[in-house]
Symmetry: C2
Subunit: 158 residues, 2 copies
DNA sequence: AACCTTGTTAAGAATAATTCTTATATTGGA
DNA sequence: TCCAATATAAGAATTATTCTTAACAAGGTT
């Protein structure tokens, strides 16, 4: 099964916004104009905008919105699984092991774990249809989630 | 074929350093103590260190090295294909399309291109062996390289 | 409909990560 | 050894992101 299933993207914007509102309510997140406008902007965009770009777009509708609100909202939307963050948010990390492998990255503590696929695994092969965009220099496959240690730590707090 | 083949990691440190020196010479990069020490540090590390962490480690050998040198060197090593950068270096970007897909990211201009795999593609499946690390929330598969536009622009300059 | 409670926001300061500037030092070829 | 070009240290500057605080507003309660 895919980790984030296609359920909303086929609907029209109005329906997606309604679904977003419902999701907010189910999570006790207040339905604010700012959240709605940020969601609308992102749902209509095809350019993987940065927080700054979302800010610029939303500002046309809500001139007083702050950049911080955009950051906060995008983070909560990611948390809620409504948007996907391309790449890593934390600081850059480096690896001198060039053996083909991938990573599990903890979204909470930032820890990076190595995973070496079986030799016959197709996971890291470069698909042919990428050549239309440019020359591939490397592959970055990461699975992001919460590591066992953070999960356990979160449980203790309650 | 894998994009970054396993050629050096099986060798011992001394051999890897020699190979690194040879690579530097072949690219007209000077072989400096700083570069060597940064390479040694990274080659021996298994923790995907950040630039700051590399800096701290290298400092023990070269107390006067600057953080900027570490950043510059890591960038040139990435460029040379000696190290791999985990995640993206640029600012965060967001995507509200949750249909399973992956990205081609231009290492030069930062542009992000969508690639939708064939419905039966195994590319974005979560392997079972990841569960040992934690709970996966999402998958980030990106191919990084130079897009055709940047390639063309670089060609014109010459 | 007015009233709370609590989450949310704007504004701008603060922080963190990375890059730039400049003068000095070093590499590697002549 | 000398020279030209590249690399470096130091610290300032920039960029991205987060925090602080006081005002505000959503949505449940009366």
């Amino acid at each position: 099964m895919y980790p984030h299933e296609q359920t909303e993207n086929g609907k029209d914007l109005k329906a997606r916004v309604e679904a977003f509102k419902a999701l907010c309510r189910s999570r006790a997140l207040r339905v604010t104009e700012q959240r709605l406008e940020i969601f609308r902007t992102l749902a209509q965009s095809k350019s993987h905008p940065s927080a700054e770009a979302v800010f610029a777009a939303v500002r046309k509708k809500l001139p007083n919105i702050s950049l911080d609100t955009v950051y906060r909202t995008l983070a909560s939307m990611e948390e809620a699984g409504v948007v996907f963050r391309v790449g890593l948010s934390t600081k850059a990390r480096f690896d001198a092991d060039l053996t083909p492998h991938y990573h599990f990255v903890c979204m909470n503590c930032g820890e990076v774990y190595d995973i070496f696929p079986a030799p016959d695994s197709p996971a890291l092969l470069v698909p042919q249809d990428i050549k239309q965009f440019g020359e591939v220099k490397n592959v970055n496959l990461q699975f992001r989630g919460i590591c066992h240690r953070c999960r356990a730590a979160a449980g203790e707090k309650k």
